[in-house]
Amino acid sequence: MPPSGLGEAFDAVLAAARAQEPWAFQRIFDWLGRPVAAYLRGAGVEDPDGTANEVFLRVFGGVARFEGTEGRFRSWVFAIAHNLVIDDRRRRSRRPQAAVLDADEGPSAAAAEDLALVSLGDERIRALLASLPPDQRDVVLLRIVADFSIEDTAAALGKRAGAVKSLQHRATASLRRLLTEEA
């Protein structure tokens, strides 16, 4: 279910959010909270809820300086979410691997990603997403979960539209092969 937009109410909500109106913050959170959390879980973030909270705290902290349309606002919010996903991946890649030799000590980076993907609720979907490289997975999630266009996805990921098309093409090729084998 793509996130429904605010439509004509967007300008009023944005103006109220700039004025630090709590009701505007709540409206924005109701609008984008679920798709942001789905994106974070699909991306395999270790703490999806905490990261989602951080995303909206940053959004509300910077909304006074934002200028643009509803589509650009959505791209901006997911760009913040994507930056936190990158931070989370870097943090986990720097984590010493020796600490996870014992399975009882705690989840490894891949295990945490699997746990996050499990929260999507579909084992099959989780396995398919986990088989994709992170860049391709991000494109698939933004295009499907956030209902982004190629240009919106490129803006959120900080890439060129051609690079996003290339990543999407490779992702669909991989998914097609996996789904064919599955069938």
Binding site: M1, E21, N53, V145
Partner: protein
């Protein structure tokens, strides 16, 4: 890539991918809303201003900041290059730096002063080689002008000699010599008197700088000298010549 979008993209004719997209959308829809933490709850309730949280920089602003940083580096590098180049052309850089700049400029065909002076003003003259026949070491230049010439001992009468000594006292009274009459021995031993003067360290102590050879020369004793020309130093003319060498 959702619903209609999937069919517009490269998945248009692939129902398998379209089915996957629908399943993923359903899973995302089933995803619960994120749990609201204490910090976010405070903001949503209006209890905490949002400006306490870190400022969010848009991707475009990041690029602008990086570009601005590169521009600053470029301007700073250009200013430094122009400044160093100007100083190098003027030859106003410190010596080692000037040499390096000149060397680098020489690579690109620009001739800059290398920091070395073109005319040497501190050229030291080559050492003067004293002929072997005049091996007498140079006299120090600090000998008082009132140094009395040694008179031939046998050609002076006492009165005349006393007059000369008086004159000498007038010119060299700082020598503080009270027994000049005794020092000048008319019996031909006047050089010994001078030896005593020289060995007595003199009033100013400047004659000691001449070294033992000078003392030997003035004493008329050639026993320590290998130079045959030194023979006959007893000749008062030699003394006159010695005096004449003194500035």
């Amino acid at each position: 890539m959702t619903g209609h979008d999937v069919h517009r993209d490269d998945m248009e004719n692939d129902p398998t991918i379209a089915a996957f997209a629908r399943d993923l959308q359903d899973a995302a829809s089933a995803t619960p809303a994120p749990a609201v933490g204490a910090s976010l709850a405070a903001v949503l309730d209006g209890r905490v201003p949002t400006d306490v949280y870190p400022e969010v920089v848009l991707p475009g602003h990041v690029r602008t900041a990086r570009r601005s940083l590169r521009l600053r580096w470029a301007v700073a590098s250009a200013a430094f290059g122009i400044g160093a180049g100007s100083l190098g052309v003027a030859g106003a850089l410190p010596g080692p730096v000037q040499r390096q700049v000149a060397r680098m400029a020489e690579v690109v065909g620009v001739d800059l002063p290398d920091g070395q002076p073109t005319t040497t003003t501190t050229v030291t003259p080559p050492p003067v080689t004293v002929p072997a026949s005049t091996s007498v070491p140079p006299r120090p230049t600090v000998v008082p002008a009132g140094e009395p010439p040694v008179a031939p001992p046998t050609t002076l009468d006492d009165e005349q000699h006393d007059d000369e000594l008086d004159d000498d006292r007038g010119r060299g009274e700082d020598r503080g010599r009270a027994d000049d009459d005794d020092a000048v021995d008319v019996d031909g031993d006047a050089d010994h008197g001078r030896d005593e003067e020289l060995e007595s360290d003199g009033p100013d102590g400047v004659l000691d700088d001449r070294g033992p050879e000078a003392e030997d020369d003035r004493s008329g004793s050639d026993q320590g000298s290998d130079d045959p020309e030194d023979e006959g130093d007893d000749d008062p003319e030699d003394d006159d010549e010695d005096e004449a060498r003194e500035p």
